[in-house]
Symmetry: C2
Subunit: 300 residues, 2 copies
Amino acid sequence: MTQPFGDRLAQAVSDKKSVAVIGIDPRLESLPPELAELPAQEALTIFGCGIIDAVCDLVPAVKPNIAFFEAYGLPGLEAYNSICAHAKREKLLVIGDVKRGDIGSTAAAYAEGLLSPGGIGPHDCLTLNPYLGSDSLNPFLETGLPQGQGFFILVKTSNPSSAELQNLELKTGGTLAEAAARLVESLGKNNIGQSGLSSLGAVVGATHREELARYRELMPHAPFLIPGYGAQGGTAADVCDAFRADGSGALVNASRSVIFAWKKNPGDWQEAARNETLRMNADLLSALRAAGKWKSPVSS
Amino acid sequence: MTQPFGDRLAQAVSDKKSVAVIGIDPRLESLPPELAELPAQEALTIFGCGIIDAVCDLVPAVKPNIAFFEAYGLPGLEAYNSICAHAKREKLLVIGDVKRGDIGSTAAAYAEGLLSPGGIGPHDCLTLNPYLGSDSLNPFLETGLPQGQGFFILVKTSNPSSAELQNLELKTGGTLAEAAARLVESLGKNNIGQSGLSSLGAVVGATHREELARYRELMPHAPFLIPGYGAQGGTAADVCDAFRADGSGALVNASRSVIFAWKKNPGDWQEAARNETLRMNADLLSALRAAGKWKSPVSS
């Protein structure tokens, strides 16, 4: 039987001794000079695969955001597919940051395209938007869960205006984001693996530290995907409350601070990305150990 | 200066004497037998362009949903681009039903890919998801409005579980969907054309008739995109409250009931789609006239 995504994630974190995920969000104008003159598809592919080569032994997962590839049309999406395939070859979990959300029959079409061979990807996991409710999510679960794929549902995002709707207070108590959190926990409760983690996770922004412990309480079984570390301002200490008592259950994403590290530390761009990933790993594990949340002794 | 989308839409409705939009949501398994054996890209392109040829003189706009093309990977997206380009050649407004929503810098990347030459499309208009708030929408507006492009923001969708989050009642009164409606009206208020319509519209499900008048009150300037007519169960009478007093301001979408009309009325699939579109146009105008909301005398 296929291992459920929650367990695959827990295993990958344990194997790599890392809770970091590297966001692959390239822009042509920010690529190293030696790639800047190449056609978009080639430049994006070389850069994305090069980042994967630089970090694949250090992290459990990568998260390409499809927007940065769609920006270059179909050649960009060809590069996206090449990068996802390369990450799979390197045994990384591929989190497709696609934030899809549509009604039932349309969600089923997206699920076919994003979770099946011959479509866009390959993906181990997708990000989804909950605004349309459970019947926009269920077709993804029905397709992906039996294949060992997982999902991170947007609960609380890290952008300044996330408060406009997500922080609205409800008549019955709590906020919209907390209602979304309850929906995630409820939909995931039948898919909890031996690790205690569900295959249905949540995106919870690290720029809202005070809220992380509350979301963990609302979603005891959900893996968290935490954006906002690095370029977006969150620190390692900020994110500890998102982890479960045993140190499992969350991935911390950094994109620009890793993939564009060569801009701050001139030299080889792959080496710069690797060094920043090593620094991030050490930073996160140190904070987790300080919080009493990392069981295995790790030499840093 | 480029005409704003709200005015382009009002003009197209007036020119075509139709408030219908045809959703192009093909599935290979539902295509006419003569297309069923072709490769996906060719079958989708012939079918989508054939639907456009059948209805292009009857309606102001078409709405291809990208999910049904992404389901077939990059060849599917090639077909999507071909269909959008064909609709533009036939002077139809192209509403790209993509329901994107991501944080600022990522939204800017999506906007580049979906609103600029050489990307995915071409589109006159996109559907967007509001869960991440205004800074996930503004990059689209900044790119698209100066180019005469418009947007329909998901406010209240037509699927059964839309109530799970969208109908949640807020402490300060009203529902989440009503808060989204206020956000749409507020973001659109600086982009109201001579027609009185903003370039920022709202998706409001027709299966919730009792709510349509309330949403019109909350968004007096927003064009409405109303799914749920036909296969999803809404009737022409249901949607009249969504229109402004002068009969402007809303588009009613039908997808399966038009594009798969040949299944109920065997024979030429294009003729079946055309006949169903004629029937839908007559049905909608008759209901609007009965509600006193269609100014120009139209022979039906």
